[in-house]
């Protein structure tokens, strides 16, 4: 094995040469050694990921807590930040502009606040997804775990962030005359579907961002364009009145618009089913499942390549 050329003190090959014995691959096979860092099969990958579920949860909670740990008010900012956000929107659109964009004012303010929070959920999931691998190379290069744990963990962090924002959403809804009703229970499936959709999207951009970190610079512009076409600050139905049916429907099947409208429908009394496109639940389910499954498989396909500098 170790023949050392003492005179020169240089290079030795520790590998058995082919005529001397088995090749590396044969030796590995004979002793049941597996290729290090090879991509596991999809079911095996899912199993490994499930085994790391506590890490995924702990990591997301840790990230959430770490955000405000230096502030004097500490975790109070989890609620204070969305509250201040809602306050600013109320001040500008409600007090100064008296905007309502074709909706009654007491519907418009909760409509706007809900839209902003729900869109922010998707937006920040995507933003943290882009950096999930490229921003955590240290972690990826030091420890072994299914890499999908990172983007999933980041979306989970955003979900928890949204749950804090929901408190503010409830306060705003009640403040403008929409009281808790059994209809509010619809929030749960809406959140679940949107979370699946966001996670799928985060997985997709995580793989793209791992290869091209420049995407993190580009993403804010893409997301802002998406926001303005999704009806965060206006109702697509009212804005597009008189336009062709197809144009309206095309805007309405946009997943961000679907989840926002469903959330508003569940939460706000004056925002009835007439504002929703037909088959809205089917569309919401389709986006969630298609993007999540597609994103997961897409991410898994490059599993062995993450971490290459």
């Amino acid at each position: 094995m170790s023949h050392i050329t003492h005179d020169g003190g240089v290079a030795v090959s520790a590998m058995p040469s082919p005529d001397e014995g088995p090749t590396a691959a044969q030796l590995a096979a004979a002793h049941g050694l597996a290729v290090s860092g090879a991509r596991p099969s999809l079911p095996e990958y899912v199993r490994q990921l499930w085994g790391r579920r506590h890490f995924v949860l702990a990591f997301s909670q840790a990230k959430l807590t770490a955000q405000y740990s230096q502030a004097k008010l500490g975790q109070l900012w989890q609620v204070a930040t969305p509250l201040l956000n809602a306050g600013v929107y109320y001040f500008i659109f409600g007090v100064i502009l008296h905007a309502s964009r074709g909706l009654p004012q007491d519907v418009y303010i909760p409509f706007l606040v809900t839209g902003v929070f729900v869109f922010t959920f998707t937006q920040s999931s995507v933003m943290s997804g882009v950096r999930a691998i490229s921003g955590n190379l240290g972690l990826v290069r030091a420890l072994h775990f299914p890499r999908a744990a990172l983007p999933i963990s980041f979306s989970l962090q955003q979900l928890q962030q949204l749950l804090f924002s929901m408190i503010v959403m409830f306060v705003v809804a009640i403040g403008f005359g929409s009281y808790p009703s059994p209809g509010w229970l619809l929030i749960v499936p809406v959140l679940l579907l949107q979370f699946l959709f966001n996670t799928g999207l985060a997985l997709i951009v995580a793989r793209m961002g791992a290869k091209t970190p420049d995407l993190a610079q580009l993403m804010p512009f893409i997301l802002r364009t998406w926001m303005y076409t999704s009806g965060v600050m206006f109702s697509i139905n009212k804005m597009m009145e008189g336009r062709s049916e197809i144009a309206v429907r095309l805007l309405q099947v946009n997943p961000a618009a679907v989840y926002m409208d469903l959330m508003r429908y569940a939460l706000i009394d004056g925002y009835g089913a007439s504002n929703l496109p037909p088959h809205v639940w089917a569309i919401a389910l389709f986006w969630a499942v298609a993007v999540f499954v597609g994103g997961f498989v897409y991410f898994w396909k490059a599993e062995e390549r993450y971490g290459r500098g």
């Binding site: 170790s2 090959s13 597996a34 290090s36 890490f55």
Partner: protein, 283 residues
């Protein structure tokens, strides 16, 4: 057949070398030795964005993109060049070489953390790198970092709970008051390093890789961690140790790989390789 003879030869030279307790290797000497890590003509290449030329200006970046050369704006660093070796159960292998010779990169490639450009690494079980630094967060308390670090290394919740007290006691963080409930950013660098080592060393491993971890903390803690490393070695099948301290290599390893500029310059019993290495470095 020649192969087997060659193996037995090494075995003997290893035994003669007189390195400390390599229990399993000596025991298994008569029978077949089990390989745990096989590296076959391994090449690792880093790709660095935006480092093609010395100029970092925007116009330089733009002209790089416009030129559309091969992998525009990306510079390749060939860190490991065609390294091959076979490591066996019970071996403690030291990795030496000057700074930037590819030692840490090689460890990461063995652990499957860095994808190989060419060649393959075969391993028995999951090799793990001793180190959780990257998973810890300075803004969290030591307490939460112990839990987070344990989970990140793949321990179950119950295992973390079970070992929590051991980890805290081993780190000695609480010797000077209740520091474990303070955020890690308030720790001195020595205290933080001790906690990190304690978390990392809490798990048992099949193939363990240690990258310069022994030089942390004060004298007392260093002794304690060396002892823990020896324990880990006994439990682990194979240990890799990267160090610039020839004494700690002599104390713990029975075989040494010497890397220089990403190439394997020498591979053999500790004393032989170290002698050449010391001649090379002019000690």
């Amino acid at each position: 057949m020649a192969e087997q003879n060659a193996e037995r030869d090494t075995e003997q030279s290893v035994a003669q070398d007189g390195a400390q307790d390599i229990g399993q290797a000596a025991g298994a000497g008569a029978g077949e030795r089990r390989p745990t890590v096989i590296a076959d003509d391994l090449h690792i290449v880093y790709r660095v964005n935006g480092a093609k030329t010395g100029k970092g200006s925007a116009t330089a970046a733009l002209s790089r993109i416009l030129k559309r050369g091969e992998g525009s704006g990306v510079r390749k660093v060939h860190a490991v060049r065609g390294v091959s070796f076979v490591a066996y159960r019970g071996e403690a292998i030291g990795l030496i070489g000057s700074n930037g010779s590819g030692k840490s990169t090689l460890l990461r490639a063995i652990a499957g953390l860095l994808p190989a450009e060419k060649g393959k690494v075969y391993t028995d079980g999951q090799p793990s790198l001793l180190g959780v630094n990257a998973a810890l967060m300075n803004d969290l308390t030591g307490e939460r970092n112990v839990i987070l670090g344990g989970l990140a290394m793949g321990m179950s919740r119950e295992q973390v709970k079970e070992r929590y007290q051991d980890i805290v006691d081993f780190s000695g963080i609480n010797e000077k008051g209740d520091f474990i409930t303070l955020p890690m950013r308030t720790y001195s660098s020595g205290m933080a390093a001790r906690l990190r080592f304690s978390i990392a060393a809490a798990k048992d491993h099949d193939v363990l890789m240690i990258d310069e971890a022994l030089a942390t903390g004060d004298r007392k803690f260093q002794k304690r961690s060396e002892e823990r490393i020896r324990e880990l070695r006994k439990e682990a099948g194979t240990v890799f140790l990267v160090s610039h301290n020839n004494k700690s290599i002599r104390d713990t390893c029975n075989r040494v790989l010497w890397l220089e500029r990403g190439e394997l310059r020498m591979d053999g019993p500790t004393e032989e390789v170290l002698k050449e290495y010391e001649k090379f470095t002019g000690k």
